[in-house]
Every structure is written in structure tokens, then in C-alpha cells.
């Protein structure tokens, strides 16, 4: 369309003329996008943490440091003899070190340098699973009684807890995000309605000279898209910044390898901008739909 440049310019003019409202709607849309992003990152990281932890139903038995690997294998046989033990898999101290390396991620793996081979301070261990978890306490006592067993850790508990937290965060996050989406749509639509009312004289004249509704819409949709693009850009960059601040503050990067969003920064920014633009366009479309049904003088309120 030959007048597209003109229409876009008009849309940008709306943004400027309407700046207080514009800033308000950008802020709300931004908080919506930020929260969505934060909940998403939390969930992704929880999943990552669980992946690096044991599987859901797994219990770890550590052997005392002073027990030789050969004796350790004998301990394994004894564990397998217990009724409630379903499987029992030997994890040597070297394998333990590999796991640890995996857990820490490339960035922090150098911490383990010099602790390999003979200097490895990790104990041998067994990864076991039980047939009936309700008899956990009793079975654990039996294992503990075996000579050479140091301690038992039930990672399944931690995994369950993480899953529970993840579920809560996902659910609460979803509710908040939906509520905020509705609020942002409402505020964007209202912002654009203000722009529209301030230009109703122009709209009535446009109609009287034969502008199609589609044409009249364009600047307002452009306005919405601009709002959305700005909100998407700023919130994704902000999310990136806050993410690393929070990780540093909590020190959780020492526990497991957190997701590195720097790698995905560009797609993330683009996705946020796309979602923002969609919201903006939708807000614009909602606000003018009804208005355009009016005719002639009724547009201006004469």
C-alpha cells in the first residue's frame, strides 16, 4: 500500500502524543512478560536440577572411606539380599567424581582439578531402589546395620519436594500470568482508545472521504505493536540481567549447572518482542472494533 509509510508515522505519532498512557501500558506488559519469563526459567532450572539429581525413586548408600573397593562389593551383595531392595548398582568413587563434574558444569569443573585418582576423597556408593517405599525406614535401618556402611541419603525426597515446588510455581505463575495478560490487554486497549478519542475528528473525516475500516485501524495497531516491541525488548534484557543477579546472590550455580540464558538471548529477545507485538496488536484491534461501527457525526459525538 502506498500510504503504509504514512500510516506507520501516524502510529508512532500516537505513541508520542499519548506518552503517559503509553509508558503505563508498556510497564504492565513488561511485568507480565517478566513474570512469565521468570516462572519459565524457574521451571526449566528445576527440571535441570532434577535431571542431574538421581531419578525419582532413588536412594544412595555411601560406604565408609576406609573400606576398600573389594569390601565395598561385598557390602553390595549384602544389600541385595534384603527383601525390600529391588536393585542395587555400584557407583565407584571415579564414577562419583564424573557425576560431580557433570553436576558442577564445565564452568566450575576446574574446582575438582587435583582431586582425581588417588586424591579422590569421594566414597564408593550404591544407587539402590526399594520395592515398597512405605517400608523405607525399616530397610534403611537394615542397611545401616551392615558393616562398612556410612550413611544413606534419600534423594527421592528432595526430588519430590522440587517437583512439588515446581508445580506450585507453575500453577501460581500461570494464574498470575493470565491475570496480568488480561490486565495488559485491557490497559493497552484503553491506551489506544485514548489515542483514538483524541483523533476522532480525523476518523470521522477519514470515514466521510471513504477510508476503509482497515485503513483507519492501521495506525492504532501500529501503536499497539510499538508498545509491545518496546515492552518485549526491555523485559527480556531485564530478565537476563535479573536472572544472573539472583543466581549470584543465591549461589545456586554451585549446586547444579543452571541454564545459561546468554546462549539463548537473541531468540529470547525476539520471542518476547513477538509476544509483545501480538498483545499490542490485539489490544489495538479490540479497542477500535466497536468504535468503527459508528458512522459520520456519531464518531465525533455531534
Amino acid at each position: 500500500m502506498r500510504s503504509l509509510g504514512y500510516l506507520i508515522k501516524e502510529g508512532l505519532r500516537n505513541v508520542w502524543v499519548n506518552r503517559t498512557m503509553t509508558i503505563a501500558s508498556i510497564a504492565v506488559l513488561m511485568s507480565c512478560l517478566l513474570l512469565t519469563g521468570a516462572a519459565g526459567l524457574f521451571s526449566l532450572n528445576v527440571n535441570r536440577a532434577m535431571g542431574t539429581l538421581e531419578g525419582n525413586n532413588s536412594i544412595r548408600v555411601y560406604v565408609r572411606q576406609d573400606v576398600s573397593s573389594l569390601d565395598a562389593l561385598r557390602i553390595g551383595d549384602e544389600i541385595r539380599k534384603l527383601d525390600n531392595v529391588e536393585s542395587c548398582e555400584f557407583v565407584s568413587k571415579d564414577e562419583g567424581m564424573d557425576e560431580m563434574r557433570e553436576l558442577l558444569g564445565e564452568e566450575n569443573a576446574s574446582l575438582l582439578d587435583g582431586l582425581e585418582g588417588d586424591d579422590n576423597w569421594l566414597p564408593d556408593s550404591f544407587r539402590i531402589s526399594m520395592k515398597d517405599l512405605s517400608q523405607y525406614d525399616e530397610t534403611a535401618r537394615e542397611i545401616q546395620a551392615i558393616d562398612g556402611v556410612d550413611s544413606i541419603y534419600d534423594y527421592s525426597d528432595l526430588a519430590n519436594q522440587l517437583t512439588r515446588i515446581d508445580n506450585i510455581v507453575t500453577r501460581v505463575g500461570l494464574v498470575i500470568v493470565i491475570a496480568l495478560s488480561v490486565v495488559s490487554l485491557f490497559i493497552i486497549a484503553n491506551t489506544i482508545r485514548v489515542a483514538m478519542l483524541s483523533r476522532r475528528l480525523e476518523i470521522s473525516i477519514m470515514k466521510s472521504v471513504g477510508a476503509t475500516n482497515g485503513f483507519i485501524r492501521v495506525p492504532f495497531i501500529v501503536e499497539g505493536i510499538v508498545l509491545g516491541l518496546v515492552a518485549g525488548l526491555v523485559s527480556s534484557l531485564l530478565l537476563d540481567f535479573i536472572y544472573y543477579r539472583v543466581i549470584d546472590a543465591l549461589g545456586i550455580d554451585m549446586l547444579f549447572r543452571v541454564i545459561n540464558i546468554h546462549h539463548y538471548l537473541l531468540p529470547m529477545v525476539l520471542a518476547f518482542m513477538l509476544v509483545g507485538a501480538l498483545f499490542g496488536a490485539l489490544g489495538g484491534a479490540i479497542s477500535i472494533g466497536r468504535f468503527l461501527k459508528r458512522e459520520g457525526g456519531a464518531v465525533v459525538g455531534w
Binding site: 477519514m206 477510508a211 485503513f215 459520520g296
Partner: protein, 227 residues
């Protein structure tokens, strides 16, 4: 150009604005529509511009059947019409040039066409030297001439003017009607609503008189002057 047969219009609140109105306007005619306040003159124009739908009867403009017209076809019908308003309806934040160019942009004219055509139109209404002025800096007559230039810029077949002289003093009113007659002589059909009798008497044109929603007289200017 305009053909109305047995057209009535009732507003949603029950007001009967027009009863069984029939009249024709041929291409190239100049018609005054007169009548007291509330007679239904504006309603008549609104039917022609598709702002309102008739209750019944037949109505066609420029060969287009307005009873059956689809919503999305209305803008294209309006592009063949030029509207002039009593209150000018100029956009205060745009200068004279922009106000006229605006109408061309809407129908997708190129910048080159706009740069050529707008000054030509402003020359026609004798406002070339005011093209950078804003509406607030113009007299009523000048503002109405801008409105006229805007109505004409897309080369409409039919000009519809609803009391275009209502807000300006009598001397300027004559100027505006002079201009409309001149445009009419170039082949554009003109329908002008007014209740200024001096004006109607001075120009010898066809006069359609509406009273309480009915056409009570339809005379050419000469007969009216004799009466």
C-alpha cells in the same frame, strides 16, 4: 445521479424524519435543499452518504443501490462523494495543505500526486498563499474554502454540502456558493442544504423544499423568483 423513490426514514428513537420522499437529481445539476429546522434535510443527506439506512423505498446514488449495499462497499461509494460540513471539520493540528492532502492519503494517492494536486485545489479556492496556516489562523470563509478544497480534491462526482454557509457571514456565504456554482459548471453535481433565503433567491437554481419530512415544493430557480 441520485434517485429516491418512496423513501422513509425513522430513527431508532421513533422520530419520523422523512415520509415517502421521491426525487431525482441528474448529473450536472445544482440543487438547493431548503426547509425549517428539523425538517429532515440533514437526514436526506445522511441517507445519500450511507450514514443512515432508509426504512424502505428505493435509493440509488451513482448507480449504486444503497438499500442493498454491503458495509465494506460503503467507503468506495463515499470516494465518489465530496462532503462539506457546516462546522468545517478541519483538523486543528494540521495546516491547510495537510488538511487537504489528508483526504488524498486516505484513498492511497502517491506523494507525487499529492504534491501536484493539492496546490492546484488550493489555487482554485484562492488559498495558495495560506497553505502553511493552521485552521485557527483563518477566517470562517477561508476555513470553509479549505473544507471545499478537501471535498473536491479526490474529484468527486457529487458534492454534498450541509449548510456550508451556516457559520459564516452573508458576504462570505455568497462567495462560497459562487465557488460551488463554478465547480458545478465544470461538471460536478452539487446538492446544498441551506436555510438562508437570500442565498437561494440570489442564485437561480433548482430548489427542493422539505417540510416535516415531506417534499412540499420542487421548483427551478426562475419559477421561485417569480413567486
Amino acid at each position: 445521479m441520485i434517485s429516491m423513490r418512496h423513501v422513509s426514514k425513522t430513527y431508532p428513537n421513533g422520530t419520523h424524519a422523512l415520509y415517502d420522499v421521491s426525487f431525482q437529481v441528474q448529473k450536472g445539476e445544482f440543487v438547493f435543499v431548503v426547509g425549517s429546522s428539523g425538517a429532515g434535510k440533514s437526514t436526506l443527506l445522511k441517507l445519500i452518504t450511507c450514514e443512515e439506512k432508509p426504512d424502505g423505498g428505493e435509493l440509488s446514488v451513482n448507480g449504486e443501490d444503497l438499500v442493498a449495499i454491503k458495509r465494506r462497499e460503503v467507503p468506495y461509494l463515499r470516494r465518489t462523494l465530496g462532503m462539506v460540513f457546516q462546522d468545517f471539520r478541519l483538523i486543528p493540528t494540521m495546516n491547510v495543505f495537510e488538511n487537504v492532502a489528508f483526504a488524498m492519503r486516505i484513498v492511497g494517492a502517491s506523494r507525487r500526486e499529492i504534491r501536484k494536486r493539492v496546490p492546484y485545489m488550493l489555487g482554485l479556492v484562492d488559498l495558495l498563499d495560506k497553505q502553511k496556516s493552521y485552521p485557527a489562523e483563518l477566517s470562517g470563509g477561508e476555513q470553509q474554502r479549505v473544507g471545499l478544497a478537501r471535498a473536491l480534491v479526490n474529484n468527486p462526482d457529487l458534492i454534498l454540502a450541509d449548510e456550508p454557509t451556516g457559520n459564516i457571514d452573508p458576504a462570505l456565504s455568497f462567495e462560497i456558493v459562487d465557488l460551488l456554482s463554478e465547480i458545478n459548471l465544470r461538471g460536478t453535481t452539487v446538492v446544498m442544504v441551506t436555510h438562508e433565503h437570500n442565498l437561494v433567491k440570489h442564485f437561480h437554481k433548482r430548489i427542493v423544499e422539505i417540510h416535516e419530512g415531506r417534499i412540499v415544493a420542487d421548483t427551478n430557480g426562475l419559477e421561485a423568483n417569480e413567486a
